[in-house]
Amino acid sequence: MTPSAYNLVEIRDLRFAWSSDGALILDIAELVVNSGQSLFLHGPSGCGKTTLLNIIGGVLSPQSGQVAVLGRDLRQLSGAERDALRADRIGFVFQQFNLVPYLSVIDNVTLPTRFSVARRSRAEIDGKTIESAAIELLDELGMAHVQRETVTSLSVGQQQRVALARALLGAPSMIVADEPTSALDSDRRDEFVELLFDSARAAGSSVVMVSHDRELGDRFDRVVDLRAINRAGGPA
């Protein structure tokens, strides 16, 4: 499977509810994002953005419909295989509290390589150690000076950059960012999106981002309003 032979995300006839008899949260006829493209999903809070990211991440399974991520049909994968796909090929950045509080900055950044051999071996290219690769990334994000600190001593903006470094380490195929800027002020917000794009491009990773803030979508190849494609009404 060559990189160009699959779509980044391919969703058809997706239906999702929290329980089999509960209200539908998502009902999406089609959403296809080509490989190499970036996707920006926006919509108000509670319209199902995060749920959709969980489905794309292989953590939640829809009641029906087809979901293919990075060319792999999630329905045909076992739970363990979905976990492996996520561990090996997707990096996540969340709204806030991204970091494990009892680990140092450097340990947080290298955390994915503890669970994924693929991430580890990709991080170790060019004779780098996991640590030196992590420090390099932190340096690119202007965070090298805090590498030994505890994460609780960092500002929210610093924490988000550390989370970004962690998502990028080992060059996953896709970076999924869920409202990564909502805890930042507006200056920091644009700066962070710039960083996200530049570093993702450098790592060769595609970006999928959701936000309620439509303005952040300027640099994305595909901008989708979830309300436009989701036939299910959002939950109260």
């Binding site: 995060t50 494990v100 509080p101 009892y102 955390l111 503890r114």
Partner: protein, 498 residues
């Protein structure tokens, strides 16, 4: 990898985790302590009798005889005669005999009359013989060899003059001051009751009592208040001086025993089980002695007044014999020969068998204690379980983060199992450390009061086994919060709905 993560996670919550570890450590210390006391006492008992093939005494129970003759617990209530001693010594199957004459104390330490056979044949631990740390063995009836503990605790050394008290107490009102002994030697530590004994020659014991009887005869009215009182009343003072001395002795012995009883708890067992009956009997008979019926024909002086004071009859009778055989295989035959001896009612016991009987009795208590110890460990581990389960809810975001960076549900399960492993393993090791500390502090006390020696040793395979079992049980308990964490993670996904 997950173990390291588990450790880091625990360190993040170290305040509550420390408490959990401490409670497990205390429970482990208790369990190991019970186990160690059990092992060490067995070991120490066994090593004490290691070289002896038969223990011979007057007719009594096997464990009782062993306790009295070898472990200095209680005093024999009956004695055996020199005739029997000679008879056994003449048997060709017998290699050596250590005669023991007990009944006197020096400041709470047992004075044992014996012969140089003790020096030559007494064996402890793995066939170790007695060694003198200083000085020489007693060469005459005015010299004594003292055990290592006696020397250390009383700060005695060679040349020290000691006065033996009559009777078996730490405090006695009757002293054999007329026949003091000089310490001629100090034994090296053995870890057996010998450390707490004062060894003198049989002749020394006889001389001491001969002197005493002589003194009593001279100062009749002064030294024997009972006789004086009876003389005043004008009762039938028809008993001879020798008899008076006996009454006096018994009085002293009686007082001593009462004191002994209070100071040494471990004597309770002996008194309750066997010794007490014997003493009661004696006391009862003594009541008759003192009363008007004193002179009645049924009164058999020798039997009722013995009290374990073999020597003061002047016949030099003995409390017990330790017998070594040329061939251990003949032990049963020699035992039968002694047990069926016509001239005197004797008991010969195989020390190993008597110890087995003793353990059979004590085994129930041991098992109860071990069970209680194990139960306390279970409580400690349940404390850990509640601690881990209680924090799970606060850790849902942590679990979600781990999920997002690639942790699978089984990783979360292993993370919590790893945490419970650390808590129980550290708890077990801290417990082991605590036990060592307690033993360092407590061993001198145990030695002083019970003569039990606890070497501060590396844990035995048995103890490692227990520790391993505890850690395995503790680790497995982690499966419960682990299972819950992995279930919760599947429901929460990457974003816990808090």
């Amino acid at each position: 990898m997950l173990l390291r993560l588990a450790w880091q996670s625990l360190m993040n919550r170290r305040a509550t985790v420390m408490l959990t570890i401490l409670s497990i450590a205390c429970s482990v210390m208790l369990l190991l302590g019970v186990e160690r006391v059990r092992q060490e006492s067995r070991e120490s008992f066994l090593s004490t009798v290691s070289g002896t093939d038969l223990v011979v005494g007057a007719r009594s129970g096997g464990p009782q005889l062993l306790l009295q003759a070898v472990f200095n617990v209680g005093f024999p209530t009956q004695n055996l005669s020199r005739t029997s001693y000679a008879m056994i010594g003449e048997d060709p199957r017998v290699n050596w005999i250590i005669p023991l004459s007990m009944g006197d104390m020096h400041r709470g330490y047992r004075v044992v009359g014996t012969t140089t056979a003790f020096r030559d044949h007494y064996r402890f631990a793995r066939d170790q013989g007695l060694q003198l740390a200083r000085g020489a063995w007693f060469a005459n009836d005015a010299e004594a060899v003292i055990g290592a503990d006696v020397a250390r605790e009383l700060a005695y050394t060679v040349g020290q003059s000691i006065v033996v008290s009559h009777g078996a107490g730490e405090i006695s009102f009757v002293h054999h001051d007329e026949h003091p002994f000089a310490v001629s030697g100090v034994l090296a530590p053995t870890g057996t009751p010998v450390d707490r004994a004062v060894l003198v020659s049989l002749a020394g014991v006889d001389a001491m009592h001969a002197d005493f009887v002589g003194a009593a005869e001279h100062d009749h009215d002064v030294t024997d208040p009972l006789a004086a009182a009876m003389a005043t009343i004008g009762g039938p003072v028809e008993h001879d001086h020798d008899h008076d001395a006996h009454d006096h002795h018994d009085h002293g012995g009686h007082t001593g025993h009462d004191h002994d009883h209070a100071a040494h708890d471990h004597h309770d067992h002996d008194h309750g089980a066997h010794g007490h009956g014997g003493h009661d009997h004696d006391h009862h008979d003594h009541g008759h002695d003192h009363g008007p019926a004193h002179g009645e024909p049924g009164h058999v002086h020798d039997e009722t007044c013995n009290h374990g004071h073999a020597h003061h009859e002047g016949t030099g009778s003995l409390s017990a014999l330790l017998v070594g055989l040329n061939d251990r295989a003949t032990a049963l035959a020699v035992q039968r020969m002694i047990n069926t001896y016509d001239e005197e009612a004797l008991t010969a016991v195989l020390p190993g068998v008597a110890l087995q009987e003793l353990w059979a009795v004590l085994g129930v208590i041991e098992r109860v204690l071990l069970f209680l110890g194990a139960f306390v460990v279970v409580i400690g581990l349940l404390g850990m379980l509640s601690n881990l389960l209680g924090t799970l809810d606060q850790r849902r975001r942590e679990m979600a983060i781990l999920r997002s960076v690639g942790a699978r549900p089984r990783h979360l399960l292993l993370l919590l199992v790893g945490e419970s492993f650390w808590v129980s393993a550290v708890g077990a090791l801290v417990g082991l450390g605590l036990l060592s500390v307690v033993m360092i502090i407590g061993t001198p006390i145990l030695e002083a009061h019970y003569g039990l020696h606890f070497a501060l040793t590396w844990p035995t395979p048995n103890e490692w086994g227990l520790l391993t079992l505890i850690v395995i049980a503790g680790t497995l308990i982690g499966l419960i919060p682990g299972w819950r964490a992995s279930r919760q993670a599947l429901i929460d996904g990457l974003t816990p709905r808090l």
